[in-house]
Symmetry: C2
Subunit: 404 residues, 2 copies
């Protein structure tokens, strides 16, 4: 498996583009993205579990009912959610794709991200379609990646190449999301493409399997958005023998998908609103996976842990507190906690109680841009990892300012 | 029912005091509180559901196993939690009460609040006991209220008088808590006293019944502390016929307890770390109480709603989003949302979709120091209220600085 350039348009057959059409006032900010494929693709999606669902999700679900798609259109600046005319407008966006590309509107995945509850202005989208489609290219991923960003500070794209049946295959994608990020499909949009030949059924299985340990383990602020969606399209142009069941081919594909989504999950966590550092909580030797996941998520979600990490303060009592208020049953008195980073490792807690440590070294460890909290349950063989970020003044500033 | 002065020492037989003994460096900050009663009291307590429990809670539980108590000792500045010698030191605090007051150490409720995982220094407590006990008085409530404060900006006390069997009865209390506040016994300490004659069994029933709608409905930051505790002692000196079963006397008592705890719950929410305003979410016409509580808690807990409230920004989409990610089943398309305060009422959402409103008026409504988010589910007859506060720069500052 090799990291390559090209993001969402790295796989064979895929083009991408992004333009500023005018949904957002800032003319330098791209706000409309399109990804298309030269052929119809097997496709699969997972959606937010929020009961308030963005209209685009409803339309996408409908369009994906036959397991096929050929394009993704996505605007930023407005979520097209909680509006009486949401479905109508999301459908109109698919129709615009058809009008400009000849791709059937029923084969379009549609997404919107931004403010909830303000009617979406269709005029800029109509006006922007021509240049959006004209600019589609096999190396247009970064324009699409920029166009789906909201409060993100950096664009997020990844691609890997690998082999199946002696054929070179590719998988890649783009993602956005830095606030409203929480387990149950971290609040984000993620669009993946691959040229692996795989049935839409197995694509669905792969997505469900991999998302649980990647995007669902990202937590920025505990808010699960209304518009979360992860979609994947496979063009099948790599020429491998079509994957239609479980087995080693399928496992290889899942491993690569997992690698790509783990990368994007960490990128999203690192770029959490206002974040100055990536927080990783690794739980090992837990009784079972549910328990490991629950502890890992609880630690990276704790406002108090996050604020302490911002200050590079080894306030491990807050870590233990966050471990303690998970719903799982386990023995707190067996738990060890280490703080780790590129600057070293410091043990702060053993058998559920504090141990003496050098505060200066601890501060050095926590001052790195990526910090890992390692929780050893000494209680079994299961493990899990969750990602988050610190809680900073800028998180408040960004979210107090966002709409106005 | 009449609001009266006197706080935790308003009820007949109770004395209180608070001193600076030196657990905290700041000499102006009282850090050791004592509440005693002239007679042995029926007593009851509820505790944090965090699996990491402060040592003082274990000792208190043990001491309350006979349903009786006569004193409460509490220090701030150190939680005496996650230390190998925690139980020993919590027990030593009870012994110190016995040595200085003749109250049996087995009749002492002990509590600690502050940093987790640093060994508690007993010397200042030993040194401070004499002046603490010497200063006990029937109007010493405010000293005790100050001594249990950590990052609280204001002391919290309340007392009411009411009648039972023609006798004047009193109930009062003090509370602390402004960070680590979350449902399941908001992370706080609350000490209540009453002179109502009531069995410890019925005191337990009353506490369990009332805490669910009061302190458990406060949420500041989603962190449930290790040291939460609410205790109540009744001296029985009011002279009413002893309450030993349910009935109108018991209901009157519960009503007064509820009133006092509601007051303290709101005081705690209003004083949330860094808060500039009290957030109240009232849910009405819900399918059932569980659903109403879940929605109310979710709204006041949302970081994004809280940040919007800080900016007095009527970003109601975030409110609907927080409603949507509760676990309950209900019809989002029936929901109406109003924003209310002393400055007026603005409807922002009807039938789950946005309605046009005057942004200027909305900003005025949200600029008040107490803001209510009214959620009408149009789906039944149940209701619930939760309290919280806005999320501000100061929350981050306080929690990044706390330990160092």
């Amino acid at each position: 498996m090799k990291k390559i350039n090209g993001g969402v348009s790295a796989a064979k057959g895929f083009k991408a583009n992004g333009v500023h059409c005018g949904i957002r006032k800032n003319k330098d900010k791209l706000d409309l993205a399109l990804i298309t494929c030269d052929v119809r693709c097997a496709a699969a999606s997972v959606y937010t579990k929020n009961k308030v669902k963005g209209a685009p999700l409803t339309v996408t679900k409908q369009n994906l009912s036959d397991g096929m798609a050929q394009a993704i259109i996505c605007n930023s600046g407005n979520a097209n959610t909680c509006n009486a005319d949401g479905i109508e407008k999301a459908t109109a966006m698919c129709d615009l794709v058809q009008a400009h590309t000849k791709i059937n509107s029923g084969d379009v995945i549609v997404a919107s991200t931004g403010v909830i509850g303000e009617p979406l202005n269709m005029q800029p989208i109509r006006d922007g379609m021509k240049s959006l489609v004209d600019g589609l290219s096999y190396d247009g991923s970064s324009f699409a990646a920029q166009a789906i960003m909201t409060t993100d500070r950096v664009q997020k794209e990844i691609a890997y190449s690998f082999e199946l049946d002696g054929k070179e295959c590719r998988i890649g994608g783009i993602a956005k999301g830095s606030g409203m990020i929480n387990p149950n499909m971290a609040t984000l949009l993620c669009f993946m493409t691959t040229d692996v030949d795989i049935s839409s059924e197995m694509l669905n299985v792969a997505l469900g399997k991999v998302v649980k340990d990647t995007l669902n383990m990202v937590c920025i602020d505990g808010d699960t958005s209304t518009n979360d969606m992860l979609s994947i399209m496979s063009s099948g142009l790599a020429g491998n023998g079509k994957i239609t069941q479980k087995g080693s081919q399928f496992n290889t594909f899942c491993k690569c998908l997992q690698k790509a989504l783990t990368y994007l999950a960490k990128e999203i966590a690192k770029d959490g609103e206002g974040a100055t550092k990536l927080l990783e909580c690794k739980v090992v030797k837990a009784k079972n996976t549910k328990c490991a996941k629950s502890i890992a998520s609880s630690v990276v979600s704790s406002s108090l842990v996050k604020a302490a990490m911002f200050a590079s303060d080894a306030n491990w009592g807050r870590i233990l507190c966050a471990i303690g208020y998970t719903q799982e049953q386990f023995d707190v008195s067996k738990i060890d906690v280490d703080l780790k980073s590129a600057a070293g490792t410091v043990r702060v807690c053993e058998n559920g109680a504090g141990v003496k440590f050098d505060e200066e070294i601890a501060t050095k460890v926590l001052s790195q841009s990526e910090v890992c909290i390692l929780v050893d349950c000494n209680d079994g063989n299961s493990k899990a990892t969750a990602w988050g970020c610190d809680l900073t003044y800028d998180y408040v500033r960004i979210n107090a300012d966002y709409r106005t």
